[in-house]
């Protein structure tokens, strides 16, 4: 690690005031320290926000919940209200990393974790995300973890978060505090920008912006929710493909469908047209095939991600079979027991 000054922020205003070109916020540190050790990130000032009070709470917010940016992944996934009302979020978080990492990882840090593209990690290789203008080594390189959607000639990297996919399918919003003190919210899917010719810019956040919370809308009681993750080993690996589904069944018709996909794009991927192809339809193979055909692109941006096309199709269909009740077992959103412990 390069030497840095460690500073503990006393307030949000203090933290954003200290953010400059060479400064980085640290929350759980599980991504930042990893990258600092190999000098992919080299902040000269590290601003610790982990002790800011009040940001580690999950509070009622209208009919939904407001999740403080410092709430850990474990606290969020195990919260009785989340397990009951938004079970797909619990499952998505529990599908990621390990118990040790989830105990440290925070809601804000998880959203802003960097890609796992091997060339981003290897400082001896060109990477437009890490060193703008140097080129993309994944083009013509090796690419099992790369994206299918939203890529550009300058960058093929995927966003690795599972939690973000769970939040996207639920229509969650990110609350951001600007250095001016103003607060704005963005849907989770719009937090991220696609690489285009500036892969180094990954989000719409400005200098001094801090994620303060994530807002969950009211629970969709009665919906069937599931998160299916396919990876190279049974646990503790990043997604090759993941599918989050929230389905409302009305007899033998799909009354509402929301889907989000992980491991396949520079952000949690959603496609309203695919949701639309399912809505009002009977849960049968032809319906699922139509949705999959619409979703899966005709070609892959990298020859080594070609396998993700059939994998995504099959994973989507398997997820839809479960979520619509044709196979397996999923979680059904319900009201939390009153006075549920947190």
């Amino acid at each position: 690690m390069k030497p840095f000054d460690y500073q503990r922020a006393h307030s949000l205003a203090d933290a954003s005031g200290r953010m400059g070109d060479a400064a980085s916020i640290i929350a759980g540190g599980t991504n930042l320290l990893d990258l600092m050790k190999i000098q992919v990130m080299t902040p000269s000032r590290v601003i610790d926000i982990s002790r800011l009070s009040g940001m580690d709470r999950i509070e009622p917010h209208g009919d939904g919940l407001r999740i403080g940016a410092l709430v850990t992944n474990t606290t969020l996934a195990t919260d009785a209200r989340i397990r009951a009302g938004w079970p797909v979020l619990s499952r998505a978080i529990l599908a990621g990393a390990s118990a040790q990492i989830r105990n440290k990882a925070t809601t804000g840090g998880n959203l802003l974790q960097r890609t796992r593209c091997p060339y981003f990690y290897d400082t001896a290789m060109a990477c437009n995300k890490r060193a703008p203008g140097t080129g993309c080594s994944a083009q013509g390189g090796s690419g099992r973890m790369l994206a299918l959607f939203g890529t550009s000639d300058d960058c093929l990297a995927a966003h690795p978060s599972d939690m973000a996919v769970g939040l996207a399918v639920l229509g969650a919003e990110v609350e951001i505090r600007a250095s001016s003190g103003d607060t704005r919210t963005l849907p989770v899917t719009q937090l991220y920008t696609l690489p285009g010719n500036r892969p180094d810019i990954e989000t719409g956040l400005e200098k001094g912006d801090i994620i303060t919370a994530v807002i969950l809308p009211a629970p969709r009681i009665g919906t069937r929710q599931t998160y299916r993750k396919v990876r190279d080993r049974a646990s503790y690996a990043f997604a090759l493909v993941s599918v989050a589904a929230v389905l409302k069944m009305d007899g033998d018709t799909i009354a509402e469908a929301a889907l989000a996909f992980g491991g396949v794009a520079p952000r949690p991927w959603t496609d309203a047209a695919v949701n639309g192809l399912l809505t009002g339809k009977r849960p049968e193979p032809a319906t699922f095939e139509r949705a999959a055909a619409h979703l899966v692109p005709d070609t892959a941006p990298h020859p080594e991600t070609a396998f993700k096309r059939p994998l995504l199709r099959r994973t989507l269909i398997a997820t839809l079979r479960e979520a619509s009740g044709l196979a397996g077992q999923v979680d059904t959103a319900r009201n939390a027991p009153s006075g549920a412990p947190q």
Partner: protein, 283 residues
């Protein structure tokens, strides 16, 4: 077991080589004042010195290289640029300042010590106050500053779990924790669970079931399993729990909940058996 061997500050100072004495202790043959032959005429001696300089800590490196092989102008310029990049512009003086290098070094170290953070850690019930470089991870603080070497460093990147400790009762990878961020926290390491003559239930179960081969991952496995019991008791679900509200101690649950602890010897079946056995002993 194994408390600190001296005042913590001197431990840190020793590691960072405060002043030239510490530096030279790491890099023999680079004493200031001992004339070094120029590179072309140095024969075998130079590579030896270079090697010594390279194994020494970061701060000795460019200065020792200077002394070992008084460089030609182009090389000198190169190293000056390197030093500006590594240590900042105020560490490079005019050529005539070369004999002052040792002074530069000590001021570097002084500058560095200014950044030291006083950090109080309560480890296995005993409290320690350490003066730490901000970069020090909790893992390095335990192993290198407190001599608690039961906690292992496998990958140093959160990927193997060998460094698992409990922080205020929850398991974390100590390699991905800055020690300074754990000021005032309570840490439990493998040394805090039991001792060789009085093993706790999990330690005894690992011995009984032979839940290891080389044993390198074992402290991390045991710390992780310690937390696993508490998490199950608190009703935490896992990704493989059929129902998010009810989790039981099944083989599949143990496998999933222990997946953050890799075992290079692949003792997994016996690790799971040991954990199941300890769970039975406990209940």
């Amino acid at each position: 077991m194994g408390g600190p061997s001296g005042p913590p500050f001197s431990v840190s100072a020793r590691r960072l080589g405060a002043g030239t004495a510490g530096v030279n202790a790491h890099a023999p043959g680079t004493d200031r004042g001992v004339p070094s032959p120029p590179l072309e005429r140095a024969g075998q001696a130079v590579p030896v010195r270079l090697a010594a300089a390279l194994v020494a800590n970061d701060f000795t490196r460019p200065a020792a290289l200077h002394r070992a092989a008084r460089p030609r102008r182009a090389e000198e310029k190169f190293w000056n640029r390197q030093r500006v990049a590594w240590f900042g512009p105020d560490t490079v003086g005019p050529d005539t300042a070369r004999p002052q290098l040792a002074l530069d070094l000590s001021s570097l170290n002084a500058r560095h010590e200014e950044r030291f953070l006083m950090t109080k850690l309560t480890v296995n019930g005993q409290s320690h106050t350490l003066a730490l470089d901000p970069r020090t991870t909790l893992l390095d603080a335990l192993r290198d500053h407190l001599d608690l070497t039961g906690t292992k460093k496998g990958c140093d990147h959160g990927q193997c779990g060998a460094c698992t400790v409990l922080v205020n009762g929850t398991r974390v990878n100590s390699c991905l924790c800055l020690a300074a961020m754990h000021d005032e926290d309570e840490i439990t390491t493998i040394e805090g669970l039991g001792s060789p003559d009085s093993l706790n239930a999990l330690q005894a179960a690992f011995v009984e079931k032979d839940g290891y081969q080389c044993g390198y991952c074992t402290p991390g496995q045991i710390m992780s399993a310690t937390a696993l019991f508490d998490e199950l008791k608190a009703g935490h679900p896992s990704y493989v729990s059929p129902d998010l509200d009810h989790a039981e101690m099944t083989d599949a649950e143990i496998a999933e909940r222990m997946s953050g602890n890799l075992c290079r010897c692949s003792a997994y079946p016996l690790i799971r058996e040991a954990i199941a056995m300890a769970a039975e002993v406990k209940s």
